[in-house]
Symmetry: C2
Subunit: 452 residues, 2 copies
């Protein structure tokens, strides 16, 4: 899958339909490339010539004096066949077709798309799209997106979607809210050429990628796709968010990306068999990405729950049962360790509700002792901590003490936070920067463990 | 249910086990009462005498020179029977038993709790708890909680939980994150006397309460409870988050609040029949509270979806179908109105993906036109808007224009936001302050409509 490398690390890129007007996609792409410090050559192309952000604008591909490896095209659909011929003459290896007006538009769009594919095939050019935005590669700061990218967080998750307007803002949400780092992100749009199977084959051997997150509306060659899923999921977690599952959603998918969704039930069963982890909904998709990025695999199904609230303990215990996990008994040794940092009358069971009437003598030493004790307890395979965070600092644990304790054990630790939002955000950031994933409800935190 | 009034608007309250030590529950209760400007008399009680926050501390109830209507007790369980006898002599009408060590602790706790109930019954005193924190009433700023309450938002939602350590931080989350206003909030703990049915009867006629949100682990008198549900849900939406649904969760519930959860399936069916709206999980519970607080009822099931992303349109369409809603056709009149603010080539269907390649000429006039057109379209009963919010202002709509347009129509409008977190928070606040609820995923936004 060497051809995908042209899309992620080209030596020179041309933007067909580049614009000097701020806010237009043809401007934003050029701006992103420059701003992020792309090391290759950038050639804006527009018949009107002139300059864009200090770069000379070329009239067409031919007029560029040097080689061009990749093209991003905002040209009208009808001009794309000719563009591919020109690109071939120029030695271009890949095109990201950003424009719409192809199969997703129906009617003549279908035949235009077919001609584009045929022409590209004959000329040895590979296509991402149409109806796509370009790739982001954090390892070399290559940002071809027309969406205004202001932050990047380098990491180990590859994020692939069928929709540019989906992947771009979700990516921004991930960078600003989720503390998940990305290796590569891009969308495949109508998938007239490069499709999910190609991408999976490429990512299987991408050393920068540890987890693969895939949003797709339709699968064109099911067998090939499932084979690729099976192959990659032996090496890396593959999380799939398949949409267009209902008749009306499928209809919307056709007019969005020309995708044929297929039967949702069959797709689900096949994905499972191929080793993919299926996400139900966007929240779960994002939770799963974080889970697999952050956590080691637990040795078994026994969860130790530590909470300040009996009510939350019940919710977490329900969630364990619903997810096929067990709420195990703490060992006597664990109980006696924890007893040493709680008021005498506290009764210790799992879930451990440490805040009966009186708060513990010292909340930090309580959390530290509990985490270390559960870390050594052979009855426990993973730990779910629930914390309440008042606006006022009273009873708020020091997150660094929790981090340090968690570093000394080798079991997955997840956290649920609730309380005053600003306190939550602060502690959330400290915990996730330190490697403990945070979720927005006790059930979601427990579900994270069960997904591993 | 006049007795509940003693818990929400007492003329004088005594705190048994008040403390002068910052951070102790017995200190925090007194602090909350003073800080929030409780208009009645506050009597801290502790054998050590002295002063707490400038208030004289009394040795016991008897030594208070005036009448006491309500008592909050942090006394050990074993001293509670005597306390009730003393309270009766003093003319006290209600006790909030904050302490644990009763039925939730098992063993001797069960018999102590029984004796407490018998004694109170004989002496005409009603009990909230044990193992509860006190009520908050926003209409008179009466805050009996030992949880440090820093913000209150007056509103129309009554929030009742079975767990104080659940209700308190969740309430703080609601105040700081969710933009939902509360009329009353409290927890019922072990429910040895006052239970859910009492509360529902009281809230049915509470003029400050429009929506009732109930978290419960167990129901003691099922028939009475369901009768109360039936009665109130004819007048006000009743949202129920029932936990302790699995065997292991139910076990945790017993040791948390002594609750017997009963069969989850039967409970679910019965609740539905009684007109309650059942929440699955905390996220959904909070979403539903907001939904019923904010939105008018739609006339029918037809949703108009407006999105910047085809991919999100597919997710929203899937969600409609899954929730029993319809993605209807826009009328010709609607289509021609919307066409006027989009590039010529844009194809208009529902979901309406307005951001194909080129953004609309003017994103504000697009949203305004679309909302007003859908507002007049007889084919559409409610509107789901999806907005992407980059860190950079480009393509971000003016939320005030959306608010103004929504004010001119009488259909429910829900919004899903995604993108850069800080931009989201800003616009989120503007929209919710103006009455449009915001959700964290397209599916949750659509589900909100379906719940109405």
């Amino acid at each position: 899958m060497k051809h995908l490398q042209h899309f992620f690390d080209p030596k020179a890129v041309a933007i067909i339909g580049a614009s000097a007007t701020y806010g237009k996609p043809g401007y934003m792409i050029v701006e992103n490339l420059i701003k992020w410090g792309y090391k290759g050559k950038i050639y804006p192309i527009n018949p009107s010539n002139g300059e864009i952000l200090g770069l000379k604008v070329y009239e067409n591909l031919k007029s560029i004096p040097e080689d061009v490896e990749l093209v991003a095209s905002l040209a009208p659909a009808k001009d794309t066949v000719k563009l591919i011929r020109d690109a071939s003459e120029k030695g271009v290896r890949g095109i990201v077709i950003v424009s719409g007006g192809f199969s997703e538009a129906g009617g003549a769009g279908w035949s235009i798309e077919k001609e584009v594919v045929d022409t590209a095939y004959k000329n040895g050019i590979r296509i991402i799209g149409p109806n796509a935005i370009g790739p982001i590669n954090t390892s070399n700061d290559f940002v071809l997106s027309f969406y205004p990218v202001e932050s990047l967080k380098k990491g180990r998750v590859a994020f692939i979607a069928q929709s540019g307007q989906f992947v771009a803002p979700v990516m921004e949400f991930i960078f600003s809210f989720l503390n998940v780092g990305i290796s590569k992100s891009f969308d495949l749009g109508n998938k007239c050429d490069i499709d999910d199977a190609d991408v999976l084959q490429y990512l299987e051997n991408d050393p920068d990628t540890k987890v693969v997150a895939l949003h797709c509306e339709g699968i064109k060659e099911g067998r090939r796709f499932l084979k690729a899923c099976k192959s990659i999921s032996r090496k890396k977690p593959l999380i799939v968010f398949k949409t267009g599952n209902t008749p009306i959603g499928a209809k919307a998918a056709i007019s969005h990306s020309g995708a044929i969704s297929g039967d949702a039930f069959i797709a689900g069963a096949a994905l499972k068999q191929a080793g993919a982890i299926r996400a139900n909904g966007l929240d779960e998709f994002l939770d799963l990405i974080k889970t697999f990025d952050y956590l080691p695999f637990p040795k078994g199904k026994n969860v130790g729950i530590v909470t300040y609230s009996g009510g939350v303990g019940v919710i977490a215990a329900d969630a364990c049962e619903e997810c096929g996990l067990s709420v195990a008994k703490y060992s006597d040794r664990t109980i006696s360790k924890i007893k040493s940092v709680l008021p005498k009358k506290a009764s210790i069971s799992n879930p451990l509700d440490f805040f009966a009437v009186a708060p513990p003598k010292d909340i930090d030493s309580f959390y530290q002792t509990a985490i270390l004790a559960l870390g050594e307890d052979m009855n426990i395979d993973s730990i779910a901590l629930c914390m309440m965070l008042p606006e006022k600092g009273v009873w708020t644990p020091d997150p660094y003490i929790i981090l340090n304790a968690a570093k000394n054990i080798s079991k997955p630790v997840v956290v649920w936070l609730v309380g005053y939002w600003e306190s939550m955000r602060d502690i959330w950031k400290v915990l996730e920067d330190g490697g403990i994933p945070v979720y927005l409800s006790p059930a979601r935190a427990v579900k994270a463990i069960s997904a591993l």
